[in-house]
Structures are given as structure tokens and as C-alpha cells.
Amino acid sequence: MLDALLELAWIVIKILAICVPLILTVAYFTYAERKVIGFMQVRMGPNRVGFPLPFIKRFHLLGLGQPFADVVKLLLKEIILPENANKFLFVLAPVMAIAPAFAAWAVVPFSDTMVLADINAGLLYILAMTSLGVYGIIIAGWASNSKYAFLGAMRSAAQIVSYEIAMGFALVGVLIMSGTLNLSEIVNAQRGGVFDWFWWPLLPLFVIYFISGVAETNRAPFDMAEGESEIVAGFHVEYSGAAFAVFFLAEYANMILIACLTSLLFVGGWLSPFAGVPLLGDTILGTDGIFWLLAKTAFFMFMFLWLRATFPRYRYDQVMRLGWKVFVPITIVWILVAALLIMLGVVVRGS
């Protein structure tokens, strides 16, 4: 009995060791977003809020206190329950959005030995969790009983399921190359050099996976589910205070998850790009480790912000056309190409 409890406590500690850094990353990702987009638009971004220090007054610290100020402010605001809303579903929706966004991290390996649940169907589990996120959105839109929320939820759901097809096919490409559903083994199957990573034999799928990831998370330029200029904020227009903050947290956690998965599945996860390279490969840069995964994830997170600062919003029919008429055919063709590469021995599994 005591052993079982101790084991449970140990699992809970490990889960918190994933969740707490994740929440902090989300907090500073919002800060980074405002700062990066600010600089891209030749503005300063947030630079006022610092931390209260005992003796030094007006110590702004580049606005690093901003995320905490935002969190406290959101928590102290009123949660409005619209009178027409379906109250139970209205409160349930944010929980439905955040639970899968966090739970997906259970199977993500951070390095060769650092993984909470090393299950053999890891990729299926990830696929299931990222699909569940759409329930939070559609329940929120329906339960709000507001036209903007409803339209936003419909658009968002249709968009997410459309891009899920392209995403699923891209994952099949990864499975063809790796021959396993276990995420750690998928990374280890990419061992070798930069060109043994799956981005090279699966180049079109790699690009499509990341773009679909941007569309899945409803991020600019695919954010017509929110479309401020047409439907104000989409599915979360009736949400305020902490309930809104939970949606926000879920969206950003999903973005970080997509960035992390792209790093794991296509660019070698924790593997060093300099492995096997003379000179550099012998230094610390040549060793594999969690810092490589973090660096790659940070790069893809930056890509999310870069895309948002660069591209204007798509029109809805263009989004659906891109998903169905461009991505689906390309992925189907490339799955067959990848299978031929394996069958003809051009690419050998696990080399």
C-alpha cells in the first residue's frame, strides 16, 4: 500500500516537473510574442512591468514582469455567465480545452532517458489528444449561445478537422520511415547526421506538418476562427477572466506542443546536428541532450511568431482549399514515395 502511494507521489512529482515549466514557458511565450512582434514592427513591446524589488524603485527589467501582471489581472476579473448560456457546458469548455493540451505531454520524451510514460503507442496517443482539443472549442461556441461564438466555433472545428487529415498523413510518413509508434524510438531512428533526420526524406511532409500545426492551433495566418475584424474573437467572445485565461493557456500549450513534436518527429529531437562532424562533433556541441530539443522547439516557437508578424490572414475559402486541395494530395503522393524509398532500400530504417 505504502509502496503504491510512494510510486503515485513520485509520478505526481514528475508530472508537476513537466507542468510547472510548461506553464512558465507559456507565460514567457506570451511575453516573447509581444516582444518579437513588437520588434518586427519597430515597436518596443511591453517594457514597463518589472518585479517589485526592496530598494530599487522603477526597475523595469525589460518588462519581464508583464506575464505575471497579466495572470493576476485575469484571475481577479469577473467571470461573466451569459444568461442564455448553457451554464454547465460553458464552465466545462475551458477545462475540455486545457486537459488534452497538457495531458499530451505525458508521452513526450525530453531526452534518451527523460520520459514520463514510455508507451509503445505514443504517437497514437498524441494524435488522440490533439484531436480532443476541438471539443473544448466547439462546446465553448455552442454553450455561449452567442452568434459570434457559434460561427467561430463552426469555422474553427471545420478548419481543425480539415488540417488534421494532412497532419495525420504526415505522421504516417514518419511511421513509414521509423517503423514504430514510440516517440523515443522515432527519435533514435533518426540517429546519424543532419540528413538522417526525417525532414530530409520527408521534406514536403515536414513543411505540411508544421503549417497544419499552425492551422490546428488557430494561429495567424489561419486564425479566421478568431477573426477580430469579422466575428470579434470567435468561440471565446463570451469568456472573461480566468475562464478566458484557461483558453489562452491551452492555445499556447498547444503551440509549444506542436513545436516540440515537429522537433521530435522531423528534426531529430535531442540529437545533435554536429554528431559525426569532424572538430565540432568532438566538442560539447556534438553531444546529444535535452538542450538540443529545447533549442529546436524554441526555433519552431519563434516560427509561429514570425508567421504571425509576416502574413496577412487567409480568407476562409482559401484555407479550406489549401487544406483539401493542396495538402491532402501532396501528402498521399509523398506517403507512396516514402514507402517506395523504404521498399527499394534507398532509405534504410534505423540506420
Binding site: 505526481v12 484571475l75 476579473k77 477545462v95 449561445n145 471545420a158 480566468a242 479550406m320 521498399m343
Partner: protein, 118 residues
């Protein structure tokens, strides 16, 4: 083997608790001064014109149906992809046949305008 899935279950529980805790905390910390204007559905300052449970475009259903078909196909692809080096050319050719059927269906959808959205 199922023991490896136990942390996943615990994680699902904890992530639900995080969500519930945040919403509850917001409910406890925030003020509550409802009035009828504040609680009415938001429509950019106008009175709500009609009920929200209105008719909407049938194409959303169509997308959902197409999604189910293609997602099922992905579910068929996954075991095939994992076992590709064991099933050899027979498996590969069987999948070619399957993909051919899939592509015929896709072309029919495309030609019938099921993928149009304007």
C-alpha cells in the same frame, strides 16, 4: 505492459484538475456584479437580432463527413506503415490498390464540388 500507461492516466487527471482549479480560483477571486446588459449575448452593442440556434451552412456537415472518411483511412495507414518492412511487396501492392480506391473517391468529391467553399 499496461503499467506504462498508468502515468498517462494520472496526467489526464492532473491536467483536468489544473483546468478546474484555475476556473474555480477565478470564480472565487473575481467580483460578481451581474446585470441584465452584461449578461446578454454580445453583438457589438446591438440587441441580439434573433436566436443563436439558427440555420447554418450544410457544408460544415460535409466537411465533417469527409473528415470521418479520411481519418478512417489514416487509421488503416498506421499499422501498414509500421509493419511495412515485414509485409513486403504484397503489403505495398495491397495498399496501392487501397490508395487507388481512395484517390477515385477523392477525385469524385473534387469534381462534384464537395471541396469548393465560396
Amino acid at each position: 505492459m499496461l503499467a506504462e500507461y498508468f502515468p498517462v492516466l494520472v496526467f489526464l487527471g492532473i491536467s483536468t484538475v489544473i483546468g478546474v482549479a484555475l476556473v474555480t480560483l477565478g470564480g472565487l477571486l473575481g467580483p460578481s456584479n451581474p446585470d441584465s446588459e452584461k449578461l446578454s449575448p454580445y453583438e457589438c452593442g446591438f440587441e441580439a437580432f434573433e436566436d443563436t440556434r439558427m440555420k447554418f451552412d450544410v457544408r460544415y456537415y460535409l466537411v465533417a463527413i469527409l473528415f470521418i472518411i479520411f481519418d478512417l483511412e489514416i487509421a488503416f495507414f498506421i499499422p501498414w506503415a509500421v509493419a511495412l518492412d515485414e509485409i513486403g511487396w504484397l503489403g505495398f501492392n495491397a495498399m496501392l490498390l487501397f490508395v487507388a480506391l481512395l484517390i477515385v473517391g477523392f477525385v469524385v468529391e473534387w469534381k462534384n464540388g464537395a471541396l469548393e467553399w465560396e
